[in-house]
Each structure stands twice: as C-alpha cells, then as structure tokens.
C-alpha cells in the first residue's frame, strides 16, 4: 500500500510541505500526492526528485492529478 496525500485546494507551499513531512515519517516506498493545479504538480514533482524520489506516474482525471512517487 502507498501513502496517500490529499493536497487538493491547498495553495503554495502546502502540497510540498505535506509531501516533505510524509516522506520523512513514512516507511513506505510509495507516496501518492493528489493535487488540482499544474503549479502544485510541478512543485511536488520537483521537490520529490530533489529529495531522491522518482516520479513514477502522473494520472490526470477531471482536472486533478495523482502523482505517484517512489523512493529511489
């Protein structure tokens, strides 16, 4: 099972902060971040990559994005 973060409707820098916090706490190797703006999608992906995570998949659905991140 992966860790799920719902960051929809939250503005900068909340989605990135939530990912950062979860990546430190969780022992799971997969985090899915749910966002609803392109800026958040880019910010979370960029932050994850800089912290040694890989963007495995970005699923778009109804103007929302589910970003699947895996620990390298």
């Amino acid at each position: 099972m992966s860790e799920m973060i719902d960051a929809r409707g939250l503005s900068c820098p909340q989605p990135v902060l939530m990912f950062m916090e979860a990546s430190k706490k969780t022992d799971k190797d997969e985090i899915v971040v749910w966002v609803d703006t392109d800026a958040s999608k880019e910010n979370v992906s960029r932050a994850a990559e800089s912290k040694g995570w890989e963007v495995k998949n970005i699923q778009e659905n109804n103007l929302e994005y589910q970003i699947t991140l895996t620990r390298n």
Partner: protein
C-alpha cells in the same frame, strides 16, 4: 505530453531576465525611476486614478497591471490551466493584502521594485531586500508550525472571470476618459500632473508588455516571495534563479541605457531611513508569505481563476487607499506621520494570523 519549458530552470531564468530587461526599457519609455514595473506602486496608482485616495502625485491607471492579469488568463486558457476556485479564508487574505501594501509603501516598493531599485544602483534596496527576507523567514516559522489558510473550493467559470473582468473594465476607463493635457481629472478618472503618477510609458506599449509578462509568468510560476521562501523552507533554488536573473538583467539593461546610478542618497522615489525601509519590507514579506505569493504572483493567479488571490489584489488596492488617506505611505522625505504605527499594527496583525490559523488537513 507537452513539456512546459517555462517550468524548467531555464524557463524561470528566462522569465526573470525578460522582466528585468523590459522593466528597465519601460523606465526609458517614460515610467518612473527604478519603477519600470512595481506591482505595489502601480496598484497604488490605480487606487489613486479611481479616487480611492487623493494623493495627487500617484494617480494613473497603470495598464501593466491589467496586462498581467489578462496575459495570465490567456496563458491559462491556451494551456488548459484555467481553474476557477476560491473560499480559502478570503477575509484573512484581504487583510493580508492591505498590510502587504502598507508595508510596501513604507519602503516605497514591492519585492519587484526592490530588485529593480537594486538593478538601478539604489543601495537602500539592499536594506529593503534584507527586510523582505526577514519577513518571509518569520512566515516560514509559521508554516513549520502548521499555519495554513485551508482549502479552496472549485467555483463556477464566471467566478474565476470576475477579477479579469474588473481589470478589463479598468482598462476601458482610460480609453473612454483619456488624459487631457494640464487637467487633473478626465471623466471619472484622476490623473497626476506631476510626480511618479505623471510618468508613464505609452498606454499600448505598457499594456502589451504587461500581457507578455503575464503570459510567461503564468507559465513559469514566477514569484519573488516564493524565491526566498523555497530557499529557506526547502533549500530549493528554482524560483530564486528567476529573481537573480531579474536583478542581473535589469542591472545590465540599466547600464546600457545609462540608468545605473549607484548610491544611497537622492535615488528616485526612495528614502534613506534604513530602519523603516527594513521594517516596512519585513511587514510586506510576512504578509506575502502568509498569503502564498508576491503581488505579481497574486495577479497571475487571479488570471488563472484563483478568487482568493483576487481578494488579495483588492486588499492591496484598498490598502493603498488607507496608506495615503491616513498618511502611512513614505515619500522621498521619509516615512509618513503614521507610517511607523501602521507597520507595528501590521506586524501584530500578521503575527496573530500566522500564529493562530491552523487548519486540520
């Protein structure tokens, strides 16, 4: 999938460089000294043009601001990023907008102008930028302790159009009531006969440059507050490389155009009261951080349908009215009679907001 070039490192650097260069050129074409583009000053001038304050030297319907919103709206539609939304603590954002403007007007410039002032050789800007960083740093402490204005909700398309439509209306006013030489009023609009408000590039050039900047800034998410916030909060240099490019590009362009004059004293539209240059920007930086974007970014977000950013913009326009009606704004002579009190009250209000608002996820 279309890769957004502007979301890359080179994209944000290009955006900052274009803004820095065009700002210096706008100054050459008539905009005030080291004020090629200043979002706070220009919203203050708009407030004056509408008669919300009656400071005679700062009244002009600045087309750059409308261009920012319209350019962002166009980019958002072209790239399918228009997302009408709102409802995340609107009154808090309105108040943050008011105090962001008051802080900026005590320093005499928003973060954009602080950087452009530096690029023009005004060393008082260093003090202001240190204050900006200080204010954003206080903001990051609140973020680490759970400060959060809560989620926005999806809204109807027309709700996202409200600020772009207001800006379109503002743009129509100077076309209906153009400036009459030697007259301080034309129809419903006020104009400055002297001072910074009387200095402006031709309307259509200002508008087209504004639209162009709005377009690329929407794509790149350019933000002068986020630049320092991300550096302090996440050690990320992405947005920072954009503001660094802005400073370098404005410096080089000013040098070429003969507009670079280093020093502290007698810089255009500035004062040398270091403590209040610093403190004004601490207040502005904190308010921008708590609201999630610099004044430019708030305009670009408004263009892509963010009603909360639109409320912040309206807060800044109203804040400018308070700043001049209550003599809070500084002038080249120094701080206004009640500017110091306003900065202190603003800091208390922002600390109250930052320390007490925590939404559970």
């Amino acid at each position: 999938m279309f890769k957004n070039f502007f979301a890359t490192r080179w994209g944000i650097v290009a955006t900052g460089a274009v803004i820095g260069m065009l700002a210096a050129i706008l100054q050459k074409l008539g905009n005030p000294g080291n004020m090629g583009i200043c979002v706070a000053c220009f919203e203050r001038d708009i407030s004056g043009a509408l008669g919300l304050h009656r400071a005679g030297v700062v009244q002009y319907m600045r087309p750059e601001v409308m261009g920012f919103v319209i350019g962002s709206l166009i980019a958002a539609y072209v790239f399918k990023e228009f997302r009408p939304r709102g409802g995340s603590a609107p009154i808090v954002r309105f108040v943050l907008g008011i105090f962001a403007m008051i802080g900026a007007l005590v320093f005499l410039g928003c973060p954009w102008r602080a950087m452009l002032r530096l690029g023009g050789g005004d060393l008082n800007a260093v003090v202001g930028l240190l204050g900006l960083v200080g204010g954003i740093w206080i903001g990051t402490i609140f973020f680490k302790n759970g400060y959060n204005l809560g989620r926005s909700q999806k809204a109807e398309t027309s709700a996202g159009w409200i600020l772009p439509l207001i800006m379109t209306g503002f743009l129509a006013l100077p076309l209906i009531f153009p400036q009459v030489t030697g007259e301080a009023k034309s129809g419903v609009l006020f104009y400055s006969l002297k001072g910074p408000g009387a200095m402006h590039a031709p309307l259509f050039i200002s508008l087209i440059i504004g639209i162009g900047i709005g377009f690329i800034a929407q794509r790149s998410r350019f933000c002068t507050m986020g630049a320092f916030r991300d550096l302090m909060l996440f050690k990320q240099t992405h947005l920072f490389s954009g503001v660094a490019a802005l400073i370098v590009a404005s410096f080089i362009t000013n040098l070429i155009l003969g507009q670079f004059h280093p020093g502290f004293a007698k810089q255009p539209v500035s004062h040398t009261m270091h403590i209040w240059n610093f403190a004004g920007m601490v207040l502005a930086g904190l308010a921008f951080a708590l609201a999630g974007g610099c004044p430019g970014r708030q305009l670009f977000l408004s263009g892509e349908g963010d009603g909360d950013a639109a409320i912040f913009v309206m807060g800044m326009i109203v804040g400018a009215a308070f700043a001049h009606n209550f003599s809070l704004a500084s002038s080249p002579k120094g701080v206004g009679p009640h500017g110091i009190a306003a900065v202190i009250i603003g800091l208390v209000v922002c600390v109250f907001i930052g320390a007490t608002i925590r939404k559970k996820q």
